[in-house]
Assembly symmetry: C2
Homo-oligomer: 339 residues x 2
């Protein structure tokens, strides 16, 4: 299929366009009416073959859908509502048309699921890469930054942590061929046990927490927030550095983190260093904890307090059973360990 | 250099941030205050190693600078003024730090030259690719679309056409090593004749016509406009299809196109099918021709009438010395012919 035919095919797919999008696909730029926007949040992220995915382990549908999810997670971290996105695709010349269409089908399915229409993009020949730019808006209040966490604030996580890495471990050890996966129902039929199903779903079909992020922002709950892509410990360090505070995570037997380790059968190290969670990590003022716990909607992914912040140079300490020890973050490296 | 160090290095480079940019590099998103914006134009474009450039023929400085120029050309085509940009970089792990820094130096030099600060981005491991998202604004009037050209309108070009392809031909035939090129002065020292110097400059160090595009929009001159990246004939066909009109280009000995062929020593075919011009092609109402010719600033790249539009199915006709013949566009393919 030629570039022009592909663009026509995309234009033929039904998309609900927001009223502020004056011109979508088909001109040199997408055009937005800025008068209905207030705080425009923009971010870009890439999925690269060999670095972030393999064709044997991910179907084109999953790759397309995940590329959008990963970028939307950055909007979630600011508390912004998605407005629209751009997709820049680099495609090897020998890629079959069916692969490209499945990839776009997955991407456009994400656009519908998460209310973020595709407004334009670019096609080039090259190795398989998807670069997605998303923009979102905040109609009331201000975006949540990484730099406003303070000593005395609680530290909380919304969403699952460590599960996506457990999914990657399954792919590494079992080396299954999942290149035709098109939905989580198919995945469930293949993996009947809850743990591998949930782990592979978290890795292959992640959902960005844009609704939860926006809810938290609208209720003025987080003082600082970041999304988890490189691992809880690594991204927590980024938040700590931006805010110049230290973190103490509760790891005793009754703690939220220990409960999560038991639930998914993973070690604390794997949970803290696992990547691609696309969960939200945020701090909140002590007096807001009650409001979070009493009003956080039950239909959102689980949200729990995992520790607190203290005065001190940026560092992570684990505290459980009367002991406190320092934890060094190890950045999650996708496939760099193998390949 | 680790990702974090690189981001810190970028943050350390002086950049003039526009007042509407509330938060730049360093958080999950860049944040813009939408209240000072009106018609936000957004576009994305990529430069891919092997497809759009080769390291022997382009220095990292030139690659970085050109990546921004190419994206800004899309803003120029709408008549929008640049506001800010995002850079998504995919880098092979064995690339030396000095290469990455030179590439960013070229990119940031472009940011300064064309008033478009870098507001954020993304780094990933992979083959060498640069994906740039730019956004611009239009404070008065509406963006210039491709679809508003009508029969009876003149067709004009601002900027050079075919020159960049002539530069590519020099690279192909002479295979020079230009991997340390950092400025057009260096290029001039090496190529003392005007033609190869101008041709290589057009190919390696193009400048987007954002100032001219914005001037044309502000003076309500173009009825439709497109930037030339795939070749004059191919991009003209895109404009004709969007507007559903046909074009007649003047090619007689006294025509503007014939003059350009003589000036740069290229054939009409090479001029019409050459790519990466980043010139602006636009239509204008008959009664506006005088205003264009009398008021177009002399310090902008040359602007000339090259033909007119007629009623009829989208097609290009060449008219010279009493004859009219149809011309089939051949899309410019960068390196696909060799490599």
């Amino acid at each position: 299929m030629k570039e022009r035919d592909l663009i026509e095919w995309i234009r033929g797919q039904q998309q609900r366009m927001p009223p502020e999008l004056v011109h979508g696909i088909g001109d040199d730029c997408a055009v937005l009416d800025a008068s209905s926007l207030r705080r425009l949040c923009v971010s870009t992220d890439s999925l690269v073959e060999g670095t972030h995915f393999r064709r044997r382990w991910s179907s084109p549908y999953c790759i397309g859908r995940k590329a959008l999810a990963v970028s939307l997670s950055d909007l979630a971290a600011m508390g912004a509502c998605p407005v629209a996105c751009l997709l820049s695709l680099s495609l090897p010349p020998d890629l079959p048309d069916s692969f490209v269409q499945e990839l776009l089908r997955g991407f456009l399915q994400g656009c519908r699921l998460w209310n973020c229409p595709l407004a334009g993009g670019n096609l080039a020949g090259g190795s398989l890469q998807l670069t997605v730019t998303v923009w979102g808006d905040i109609q009331r209040g201000e975006p949540v930054l990484r730099s406003k966490a303070r000593p005395g604030h609680w530290l909380a996580v919304a969403g699952e942590v460590g599960l996506s890495r457990a999914g990657l471990e399954i792919l590494r050890s079992e080396n299954p061929c999942l290149d035709d996966l098109q939905s989580d129902i198919q995945l469930m039929r293949r993996y009947r046990d809850q743990r591998p199903f949930e782990a592979l779903k978290a890795h292959l079909l992640p959902s960005p927490l844009t609704a939860a992020g926006s809810w938290l922002q609208q209720h003025s709950l987080p003082s600082a927030m970041i999304d988890l892509s490189d691992g809880l410990a690594t991204d927590l360090m980024n938040l700590l550095r931006a805010s110049n505070v230290r973190a103490v995570l509760e790891t005793g037997p009754d703690s939220a983190l220990a409960g999560r380790c038991r639930r998914w059968g993973i070690t604390l190290e794997a949970l803290l260093n696992g990547g691609e969670d696309y969960a939200l990590l945020f701090s909140l003022q002590a007096r807001r904890r009650n409001r979070l716990e009493s009003s956080y909607p039950g239909f959102f992914p689980p949200c729990e307090i995992i520790g607190h912040l203290e005065k001190g140079a940026p560092a992570i300490f684990l505290e459980g059973e009367g002991e406190r020890r320092r934890f060094e973050a190890q950045e999650f490296k996708h496939f760099s360990g193998d390949a």
